[in-house]
C-alpha cells in the first residue's frame, strides 16, 4: 500500500516536472526568445535535409543580402545556403564550418571575410554578435565548445537563453512575427527564401567611392590581434581536417573613407590566406568585374539591394559553377518540389522589393510572417 503511494507520488512529481520542462522549453524556443531574421535563417539551415546543400556560405549580413540561394538554384541548378548572421564574428566561424560539414558535406564552402576584419576588440566581444548565431543552434558538443571558447561570464545563460530573454514578455508581440514564421518553417520543413533579406532602398549618398582606385592597392593594415589569432586557428583547423573545398571571399562593398582601413586589413587577411594555400577573391577590388552599379545596386555601402542581389548572384553563381565545377544538385522529388516553391517565392520577393523601391517605400523585407503575407500577393 505504502509502496503504491510512493510510486503514485513519484509519477505525479515526474509528470509535473515533465509538463514544466516542456512549457519552459516552449517559452524559450518560441515565445521568450530573441526572434529575428538571424534565428529564422540559422534554424532554417538545420531544417534542410542532410547532404542536400552543395554550397554553404559562411559570413555576415553581406552574404544574405548579396547572394540568393533560391535565385542561384533557378539559374544554375545547384543548392546553396547562407549560414550567416548579422555582424557575425570569426569566433563563430569554426563551429559554423563544422556544422556545415557535419550536416551537408557540401561540395564548396565559401567563407566571407567580414568577421575577421573588425578593428576593435569590442566588436569581436559584443554579445549580440555572438548570440545571433550561438543562441540559434542545437545543443551539442560543438555548441558547448563554442560557448566555452567565447568564455562568457554567465555561461548558463547561453545554454538556457530564457534567463537572458525572459523579460521580453514586455516587448510582446514585437518578435511574434518572426516566431510565427519560425513555427511555420518547422511545420513545413523548410524556409521559403533560404534566409535572403533585403532593404528597399537605393544608396545615393554623394561620398567618395574608392573601389576603382583600389584595384591594385595592396596597402596592409594590421588585423585586430585577437581576430588574427582566431583566424589563424581557423585556418589551422581547415588544414588539419584536410578541408580543401574552401574558398575565401570578400563580398562587394562600396569602400568609402571610413572603411578604407578595413580594406587594408583585408589585404593582410589575403596574405594570411595565401600562406595556407587557399583561394581568395576580393570583390571590393574586382568590383567592376561583377557588373554591379554603385548608383543603383546598393542600399548602403555595406549591402546590396534586390537589384544588386540578383546581379551578384548571377555573376558569382556562374563564377563558382565554372571555377569549382559545381554541377546541378541531385535532389529527390520532394526536395526538388521544395526548391521549386522557393524559386517562386524568391521571384515574388523580388517583385515585392522592386515595387516598394519604385514607390519609394523603405522597408526591411525578410521572411517574417508579415512580409511573407505581402510576398504571397506577388506569387
Amino acid at each position: 500500500m505504502k509502496k503504491k503511494k510512493y510510486i503514485m507520488r513519484t509519477i505525479k512529481i515526474l509528470s509535473l516536472l515533465l509538463v514544466l520542462v516542456t512549457c519552459v522549453w516552449f517559452l524559450q524556443e518560441f515565445v521568450l526568445c530573441h526572434a529575428d531574421h538571424n534565428r529564422e535563417r540559422i534554424k532554417g539551415f538545420y531544417l534542410e535535409d542532410k547532404d542536400s546543400i552543395d554550397v554553404v556560405i559562411i559570413g555576415a549580413s553581406e552574404v544574405y543580402s548579396a547572394f540568393s540561394s533560391c535565385y542561384a538554384y533557378e539559374k544554375f541548378g545547384y543548392t546553396s545556403y547562407p549560414l550567416a548572421t548579422q555582424s557575425n564574428i570569426i569566433t563563430n566561424y569554426k563551429t559554423q564550418l563544422k556544422s556545415a560539414v557535419k550536416q551537408q558535406h557540401p561540395k564548396l564552402i565559401i567563407i566571407e571575410l567580414n568577421g575577421v576584419l573588425y578593428g576593435r576588440d569590442q566588436d569581436l566581444e559584443k554579445e549580440a554578435n555572438f548570440r545571433n548565431y550561438a543562441d540559434n543552434i542545437p545543443l551539442d558538443g560543438d555548441k558547448i565548445e563554442l560557448i566555452s571558447s567565447y568564455a562568457p561570464e554567465n555561461e548558463l545563460e547561453y545554454y538556457l537563453p530564457i534567463i537572458k530573454y525572459h523579460s521580453l514578455w514586455d516587448d510582446f508581440p514585437k518578435g511574434f512575427k518572426w516566431n510565427l514564421s519560425i513555427i511555420q518553417d518547422r511545420l513545413r520543413g523548410y524556409n521559403y527564401l533560404k534566409g535572403a533579406k533585403s532593404q528597399t532602398k537605393i544608396y545615393n549618398n554623394k561620398e567618395k567611392i574608392y573601389n576603382d582606385e583600389l584595384k591594385n592597392n595592396y596597402t596592409k593594415n594590421l588585423l585586430n590581434k585577437k581576430s588574427e589569432q582566431e583566424f589563424r586557428d581557423f585556418l589551422e583547423y581547415c588544414k588539419s581536417e584536410n578541408l580543401n573545398n574552401i574558398v575565401f571571399v570578400r563580398f562587394p562593398h562600396l569602400v568609402v573613407k571610413s572603411t578604407l582601413n578595413r580594406f587594408y586589413r583585408g589585404n593582410t587577411a589575403e596574405e594570411i590566406i595565401n600562406e595556407y594555400g587557399y583561394d581568395y577573391i576580393n570583390f571590393e577590388r574586382n568590383f567592376s568585374d561583377t557588373g554591379l552599379d554603385k548608383n543603383t545596386d546598393f542600399y548602403n555601402v555595406e549591402h546590396l539591394n534586390i537589384y544588386g542581389q540578383k546581379k551578384f548572384t548571377e555573376y558569382f553563381g556562374k563564377y563558382i559553377q565554372d571555377k569549382y565545377n559545381i554541377t546541378k544538385s541531385e535532389l529527390t522529388p520532394s526536395q526538388k518540389e521544395e526548391w521549386d516553391t522557393c524559386v517562386k517565392y524568391y521571384d515574388a520577393f523580388s517583385k515585392y522589393n522592386i515595387s516598394l523601391i519604385e514607390n519609394k517605400e523603405f522597408k526591411e523585407v525578410g521572411e517574417d510572417y508579415k512580409n511573407i503575407k505581402e510576398i504571397q500577393k506577388f506569387l
Partner: protein, 540 residues
C-alpha cells in the same frame, strides 16, 4: 550566495540529500552546521572570524554564567544552616551582580563589535562636524569598515541567548558545535528571523526524516517568497533606485508615488526573503517563527510593530522594553508622579500609569531606528515611530473622549478601515526617512508632499523611472494578488493558504504550483541584464 540564485537552489538540494541520507541519525545536525559554514564562507572568508568570535565568546560566557549560578546554589545549599536569611539575600545580590557583570561582558564585546563596525564612521563624522562648527581642528579618521553578513541578526540572536541563560530561562549549551549551529543556521543568517534559543535549538539538534508534506509546504512557501521578491520587489526597486539616485530632481507627486511603491517593495522583499528562509527550514523539519502577520492591516502603530518583523519586535520587547519599563528608575518615576498633586487628577493618574511604558517604548523605537543604520535619517525614523507610539498611549483617554463626543463607534467596519488607512499613512511617513538619502531631504519631502503636487509633471516623472506601463501594471497586479492572499489569511488566521490549497483537488493544486513557477520564470527579474537586488534587511 543569494537566496534567489540558482546556486542557492542547488546548495539546498545538495544539503537536503546529504541531511536526509546521513546514516548517523544522532549527528544529523552536523550536516546543517557544515552547510551553514559553507554557506557563510561563500559570502567571504574574512567574515567567518566575526561569527566565530561571537559564537565562542557567547558559548564560553553562557557556561560561565551557568557555572556561577550552579556554584552559588550549591554554596547556599551547603551553608543552609550557617547563613541567616539576611546573609543569603546579601549573597544572592552579590552573585546577581557578578552574573550581571559577566553577562555585560558578553553584551559589550558583541554589541561593541556591531556598534563599532556599524556606527564608528557615523559618530566620527558627527563629532568632526561638531568640532568643525566650533572652529576646532581636531578630526577623527574615517575607517574603511565592512559589515559581516548577518552580523546584526546573529548578534541579537546570541545576545538573546546569553540573557536567557542569565535569567535561567534556558540552560547553557554544552556542545560548542551545537551552539555554533544555533548562531549560524544558514536559512536565517541573511535577514532573520531572530529566533529564541528555546524554540529553535532543540529542533536543530533533533533528527528529522524526510516528510513529503513538509517538503511540499516548504517548497510552496519558498515559491511564494521568490514570487514576492523577484516579480514584485526586484521590479519595484528599479524605480525606487532611480528616484534615490537623483532624489532632489523629483517633485511631490513622484515622491508620493515612490513612498507608496516602497511600502510594497519593502514588504514584498522582506516577507519574501523570510518566506524563503522559513520554507527551507521547514523542508529540514524545522519550524521558524513567523516574522510577518499582514502588517498593513494594523489598526494602530503599536499593532503594526507587533505584526512587522515580529522576531525583532519580540527581541526588543523581551530584552529591552520590559527591563526598562520595570526598572526601579521608571517605577519610581511613576510613583513620584502619583504622589504629586497632579497625580491625583484623572490625567495625572493616567500619565503616572502609562508614562514608564511610553518612555520605554520611545527609547526602544529610538534604538530600533538607529539599528536600521548609522544615519540621522534613521534617528528621525526612530523618533517618529517612538513618538507616535508614546503619544498614542498617553493620549488614549483623549481619543476615547473624542469618540464619545463625536458619537463614533470604533467597532464599525468603516471605522476599522479608517484606522487601517490612518496607520498606513503613519507608516508611510516613517518610510520617508528610509527612502530619502538624508534627514534634511526627508524633511524636504514632507514639504513637497504639500506644496508640489502636480499630476502631469508627476506622471511624466513616474514614466521615466526605468519601468514601462506594462511593468507598473504587473506590479499593481502583484499588489492586488498579495492583498487578496492577505485578506484570506486574515480571515482564516489559524490555517495557512498551503493547507487550504491542500484540501483542493489534485489538478487545482498542481495548476497553482505550476502557474507560480511559470510566473516566476516569465515575470521574475533575473539574468545578466539585471543585478540581483540584495534583500533590503540584509544591510541592517
Amino acid at each position: 550566495m543569494s537566496y534567489t540564485s540558482l546556486n542557492f537552489l542547488f546548495f539546498v538540494i545538495g544539503t537536503m540529500l546529504v541531511y536526509f541520507l546521513f546514516p548517523i541519525k544522532k549527528h544529523k545536525w552536523v550536516v546543517l552546521l557544515i552547510a551553514s559554514y559553507v554557506f557563510y564562507l561563500f559570502a567571504g572568508y574574512k567574515y567567518v572570524a566575526f561569527i566565530l568570535f561571537t559564537t565562542l565568546s557567547t558559548y564560553i560566557i553562557a557556561l560561565w554564567i551557568e557555572k556561577i549560578s550552579e556554584s552559588s546554589k550549591l554554596n547556599i545549599k551547603q551553608h543552609k544552616d550557617q547563613w541567616s536569611r539576611e546573609d543569603k539575600k546579601k549573597y544572592k545580590e552579590k552573585i546577581k551582580k557578578v552574573k550581571r557583570l559577566v553577562m555585560a561582558l558578553a553584551l559589550v564585546l558583541n554589541f561593541g563589535i556591531l556598534a563599532f563596525l556599524k556606527y564608528y564612521n557615523f559618530f566620527s563624522g558627527s563629532l568632526n562636524d561638531i568640532f568643525g562648527s566650533f572652529g576646532m581642528s581636531f578630526s577623527m579618521p574615517t575607517l574603511k569598515l565592512f559589515l559581516p553578513l548577518g552580523i546584526s541578526f546573529y548578534t541579537f540572536q546570541s545576545m538573546g541567548y546569553i540573557i536567557d541563560v542569565y535569567r535561567e530561562k534556558t540552560p547553557a549549551q554544552r556542545n560548542p558545535f551545537k551552539f555554533a549551529l544555533f548562531v549560524s543556521f544558514f536559512p536565517q543568517i541573511i535577514q532573520g528571523p531572530i529566533s529564541i534559543y528555546d524554540s529553535l535549538a532543540h529542533q536543530l539538534y533533533e533528527s528529522h526524516s524526510f516528510d513529503f508534506t513538509r517538503f511540499k509546504y516548504g517548497a510552496e512557501l519558498i515559491l511564494w517568497g521568490l514570487i514576492k521578491k523577484m516579480v514584485i520587489a526586484d521590479r519595484a526597486v528599479i524605480a525606487i533606485n532611480t528616484v534615490t539616485a537623483e532624489y532632489n530632481s523629483y517633485g511631490g507627486t513622484a515622491l508620493t508615488f515612490t513612498i507608496l511603491l516602497y511600502a510594497l517593495q519593502l514588504y514584498a522583499d522582506f516577507s519574501g526573503g523570510i518566506d524563503i528562509s522559513r520554507g527551507v527550514a521547514q523542508i529540514f523539519g524545522i519550524d521558524m517563527m513567523e516574522n510577518f502577520r499582514r502588517p498593513y492591516f494594523s489598526k494602530d502603530i503599536n499593532e503594526y510593530w507587533r505584526r512587522w518583523h515580529i522576531s525583532l519586535g519580540n527581541w526588543f520587547k523581551n530584552y529591552l522594553f520590559y527591563p526598562l519599563a520595570m526598572s526601579s528608575l521608571f517605577l519610581n518615576t511613576s510613583k513620584k508622579i502619583k504622589s504629586t498633586k497632579f497625580g491625583s487628577t484623572v490625567a495625572g493618574t493616567h500619565i503616572a500609569k502609562v508614562l514608564p511604558t511610553s518612555i520605554a517604548s520611545f527609547i526602544v523605537f529610538f534604538i530600533v531606528g538607529i539599528w536600521h543604520g548609522a544615519y540621522w535619517k534613521y534617528v528621525g525614523f526612530g523618533i517618529w515611530n517612538g513618538g507616535i507610539i508614546m503619544l498614542s498611549v498617553l493620549m488614549k483617554p483623549v481619543f476615547e473622549w473624542c469618540h464619545k463626543k463625536l458619537h463614533i463607534n470604533p467597532k464599525t467596519a468603516l471605522y476599522t478601515v479608517f484606522q487601517i488607512l490612518r496607520t498606513f499613512v503613519v507608516v508611510l511617513v516613517g518610510y520617508v526617512f528610509d527612502v530619502a538619502p538624508s534627514f534634511k531631504q526627508a524633511i524636504n519631502t514632507f514639504v513637497l508632499f504639500f506644496t508640489d503636487q502636480n499630476l502631469s509633471v508627476g506622471r511624466s516623472q513616474i514614466s521615466n523611472l526605468g519601468l514601462d506601463k506594462k511593468e507598473y501594471l504587473l506590479i499593481l497586479a502583484g499588489a492586488v494578488f498579495i492583498f487578496i492572499i492577505s485578506v484570506i489569511q486574515e480571515r482564516h488566521n489559524k490555517t495557512t493558504i498551503r493547507s487550504m490549497l491542500d484540501q483542493k483537488p489534485f489538478i487545482f493544486r498542481w495548476f497553482a504550483v505550476f502557474a507560480g513557477i511559470i510566473m516566476l520564470v516569465v515575470f521574475g527579474v533575473y539574468g545578466s541584464g539585471f543585478n540581483a537586488a540584495d534583500f533590503v534587511y540584509m544591510q541592517f
